[in-house]
Amino acid sequence: MELSAREVKQRRIVWSRLLGKDAALGYALIVPLLLVIIGLLAYPIISALLLSFQDRRLGLPGRFIGLENYAELLFRDRRFRTVVSNSILFTLVSVAGKLLIGMGMAILLNQRIKARAMFRGWLLLPWVAPTFVTALTWRWMFDGTSGIINYLLMLFGVITSPIAWLGNGATALLAVMATNIWRGFPFFGVSLLAGMQAIPAELYEAAEVDGASPWQKFWHITLPGVRTVLVVTTMLSTIWTFNDFQIVWIMTGGGPAFATHLFATYSYQVGFSGSRLGYAVAISTILAPLLIVMILALSPLIMRGERE
């Protein structure tokens, strides 16, 4: 049955009321985006979840084993316990370090300084340089025999004999954290600086009239002024730091004796050196609930910042 021209037009109106007036073009333009999100993000995430219920070896079909991988991780894998405590310590110390040093950088650049833009760009270099380059360079600087860090510490009499930084557990973890902090503090610095520059100068002027000390001004004006950007930056950095791979993998490979293994490096090792893909995936999917909570808490804050 042919539809009359009038009926066709009416149907179009109904559809456009339901879906919005630009529906046809709108959907057409987001098709490629949808394909990427479905094919390269949603599908891999779901297949990761399914894989984590399987015993899957490299090059072999999988076998369904239910929650066995998770049970092994949580109750029988002592290495995983080390990975969890390493990751928590690594993330807490690194993020705190980046936050403090970044805050210092922001306060510094928020002063009246000549050529501020140049200094801001300059201090951003560690964040701009490729992470694999940073990891290689710091591995070389922390070298146990010829590293410049040992050389400098001995030159200034801090230590008397070289330390094998990456060769023993505690110092290796310190070294990868230091590297991570060096790489990440500028991100806090420039974000917080942008937040500080949005604080109206009158607030500081009024506080000065009232005789507020620099510390009081920081505590009562600066800190509340940068609160949102501080929360967003910290949460973003926490997600990134917790999932760090490159720095640890290049500097220590997770060693010595598992002292620096994190979730991502352990997952990689189990998957590609140990060929247990199902178990490897379970190592990262076990974090998914935590990750989703963090992302859900973070997105509205970023969306709000975007609209302002």
């Binding site: 333009l29 985006l33 999100i37 390269l40 009246r112 940073t134 500081y204």
Partner: protein
């Protein structure tokens, strides 16, 4: 504390610039040391007495690195992969971001939110399933594995960036063009794209550097030397027993230079507000 108020005292100035000096030193030193190491012959690299002083320098490491066929392949792979993957990402993102920023249709809000959500999903969750997908598609022995899997971080990133950029372009410009009889696609091509030029260039540069720097997927996907990009190549270079730090640092510095140059360009583009001029003019 603030930018306002009295002039700083001399003491405060000295303190301020001392702290700034410490920041600059800590930031710059690793780069200096990288450069110094890259300019030395192997026996000088380990010479204690000459750790910091620039003497007896040579470009030999750069010559070795640049003439080695391995490094040449890795550099060209990096260029091809970064260029191809970013071009695809930016094309997808321009269309999607325009639709999400401007067109009114059911689900646009949800879609914009899910772009942000996917941007925050870390690569450590995706690399194994992506490896299996590329393996199933038979792409593991090609650079396509990287070009395609890099869309996972580049598309959400570029879409999110351009979404913000498109929103800053005044809608009146578009309305005026449509009254003059321009179609939506005409508006996108003739009004939005030229105005969004700097935004698109910025998205491209960020996407390019992200792809250029990517390590995890590069190591996972490219298992043969001739398929490696620079990060994966240099990593394989340092797995051996003897680490040739001079050559390694030379190669690392070469890999860093384009990123820093591109970044300097982006900084300018970010500051430039093209839209302001167009409304006034």
């Amino acid at each position: 504390m603030s930018e306002s108020g009295r002039r700083r005292s001399l003491g405060a100035s000295i303190r301020l610039y001392t702290v700034l000096g410490v920041y600059l030193l800590v930031t710059t030193f690793p780069f200096y040391y990288m450069l110094l190491t890259s300019l030395r012959v192997p026996k000088d690299v380990y010479r204690r007495e000459a750790m910091l002083t620039p003497d007896n320098l040579t470009l030999a490491n750069y010559v070795t690195v640049l003439t080695s066929s391995g490094m040449q392949t890795w550099i060209s792979n990096s260029i091809v992969v970064s260029f191809a993957s970013t071009t695809i990402s930016v094309a997808i993102s321009v269309l999607a971001a325009y639709a999400l920023a401007r067109l009114k249709f059911f689900g646009a809000q949800t879609m914009a939110r899910s772009v942000l959500f996917t941007y925050l999903v870390p690569g450590s969750l995706l690399f194994i399933p992506l490896f299996l997908i590329m393996s199933n598609l038979g792409l593991l022995n090609t650079l396509w594995a990287l070009v395609i899997s890099y869309q996972t971080f580049n598309v959400p990133f570029c879409t999110w960036m351009l979404l913000g950029y498109f929103r800053t372009i005044p809608e009146e410009l578009e309305d005026a063009a449509r009254i003059d009889g321009c179609t939506r696609m005409g508006v996108l091509g003739r009004i939005i794209l030229p105005l969004a030029g700097p935004g698109i260039v910025t998205a491209f540069i960020f996407g390019f550097t992200n792809s250029w720097n990517e390590f995890l997927l590069a190591v996972v996907m490219a298992q043969r030397s001739e398929l490696r990009t620079i990060p994966a190549g240099l990593y394989s270079f340092q797995v051996g027993d003897v680490l040739l730090w001079g050559q390694l640092m030379a190669a690392a510095l070469l890999a860093t230079l384009p990123v820093i140059i591109l970044f300097t360009l982006v900084q300018r583009f970010v500051v430039q507000g093209l839209t302001v001029g167009s409304v006034k003019g």
